[in-house]
Symmetry: C2
Subunit: 308 residues, 2 copies
């Protein structure tokens, strides 16, 4: 049986070599650290620059993660592409490698597409993959993909593919939307993850499943702790503290700021690199970020505890 | 020397088999008809559902077009993807097959990216392909890609890669933008194509290079004729007539309406098929389209003149 994913996952940032090829070694090391902080792995998400990677690069990286012995029960790789043939190929590959779930963007090039067209996209992928182990987490991120996942689409997919449609990552930032998803679908085992830890406590109180958040790449332990202790009296204070860190990162281009912070934590400048069209932080911005983080007393968790 | 592309090109619609695999045979037949109407080939554009195809599907289709003996001097395939490795692979492949130019979308997943990031995308592709035959036509289509090509970006690319940056397809629909591109860059041999024949006459009068338009898939002869005769006294009337046809198609989902019309012209229902997330027209809509076209006296050009 495919294990159920719950809790906090990081859309794992993807390190690159100087020639911009993916750096599997540093990726594995980072994943081990996240797992040691009780944070699961959602590689090939928006924060992972997944859409800046080719299908074969994503396949190879997943194979490297699995070959390194990282727990597939903690993996929810992104496998949704613009092209349905790419989505099928990546999803089939991920399922055959035993991952617990696949996080699937809708095809995002054409805008204003119909619910019927999005339904057919997911239905065709499910039928083509044809594997009982498949668990799909829909990925709703309208600010970036522009193409979203409506409640009506979820309802139709759940009705036709119960057991396969396992949940959603809601990165709309619209709490009313998240709450509607929980209210309407979670009783049937549909797991609703929020796309930011800023909504983690609200999500847990409402019956959600956890969060999949960019900042879990740099602040995993604290976010994981709020997930574990959300029912405790200290939860609101812990949430406020998480928000302070998140808000600081949000003042900067998020992915560049996360990579810059990891580079700083590990004294490893290679981590700061991004693929076009994203760009690394200018030195002056990087210094301001560092100063901002210091001013709120954010101390990156130790990275040396995990042998690579 | 790479031949210069001028005139009218069709972003060739991609036919699909019942299993949704690309149908190279029907594609070649359609391309031959377009060429017989003096319209060049821009396969793998937005209208081609290019982003619904995998890299290997696009490579194979281009190989089939070349193997069929279609003139590479009349080909401007789309090779711009979200992933820079995909863009490099496709562009290298197209150039190695001797196409006259490559039409390149910017990477379109991340929104609000910097000019520097987009510059690096194109610069890295040019350097990685490293082939003197490469001619890039930038693809500005903000309504769909959301990520656009600014005048400042064109200026910088032209300065650093003269001879490689050959022109642009402006699908903004904003004539002031098109005119600015012509005024600022066309003297240096930068060819500005409009993305719709509705602006063809204006473009030719201002010094533009032609148009690359979806509706050239169904109305190639008339559009090609206006390009040839744009300086004649009848040009305004011809433009008005083209606009009438274009406006009729614009009342429907464009790609589905084009394919439906081709299916009707050729009595070949297989042509009406689309890949998700796009969907074919419902029968009632298809009938309305047909009635609308009949009411304006639009008679599809004969398709039997070209042996397949």
């Amino acid at each position: 049986m495919t294990p159920r994913l719950l809790g906090v996952l990081a859309p794992v940032v993807t390190p690159f070599h100087p020639d911009l090829s993916p750096d599997a070694g540093r990726l594995i090391e980072h994943c081990k650290w996240l797992l040691a902080c009780d944070v699961g792995l959602a590689p090939f998400g928006t924060t992972s620059e997944a859409n800046s990677l080719s299908v074969s690069e994503k396949r190879e990286l997943l194979e490297r993660l699995v070959a390194a012995g990282l727990p597939r029960s903690q993996m929810m790789p992104g496998t949704g592409c613009c092209s349905i043939t790419d989505s099928i190929a990546l999803t089939r590959h991920a399922v055959s490698h035993g991952v617990a779930g696949c996080l699937m963007l809708p095809p995002f090039y054409y805008k204003g597409v119909t619910e019927e067209g999005l339904y057919r996209n997911y239905a065709s992928i499910i039928e083509a993959v044809g594997d009982q182990r498949l668990r799909i987490y829909l990925y709703h991120i309208p600010p970036v993909a522009q193409v979203g996942i409506s409640l009506a689409l979820i309802e139709r997919l759940l009705r036709d593919f119960p057991g396969v449609i396992a949940g959603i990552k809601d990165s709309s930032g619209d709490w009313e939307n998240t709450r509607s998803m929980i209210d309407r679908f979670s009783r049937g085992g549909f797991d609703v993850f929020v796309g930011s830890e800023a909504l983690l406590l609200a999500n847990m109180r409402a019956g959600g499943a956890g969060c999949i958040s960019a900042t879990a790449n740099v602040n995993p332990e604290a976010i994981g702790k709020l997930y574990a202790d959300w029912a405790s009296p200290d939860a609101d204070a812990a949430q406020a503290r998480l928000n302070e860190v998140r808000t600081t990162f949000q003042k900067y281009p998020m992915i560049a700021a996360l990579k810059q912070t990891i580079a700083q934590q590990r004294s490893d400048a290679d981590w700061a690199r991004l693929r076009p069209p994203l760009t690394e932080m200018a030195p002056a911005s990087a210094e301001r970020l560092q100063a901002d983080l210091t001013s709120i007393g954010f101390s990156p968790e130790p990275t040396t505890a995990v042998a690579s």
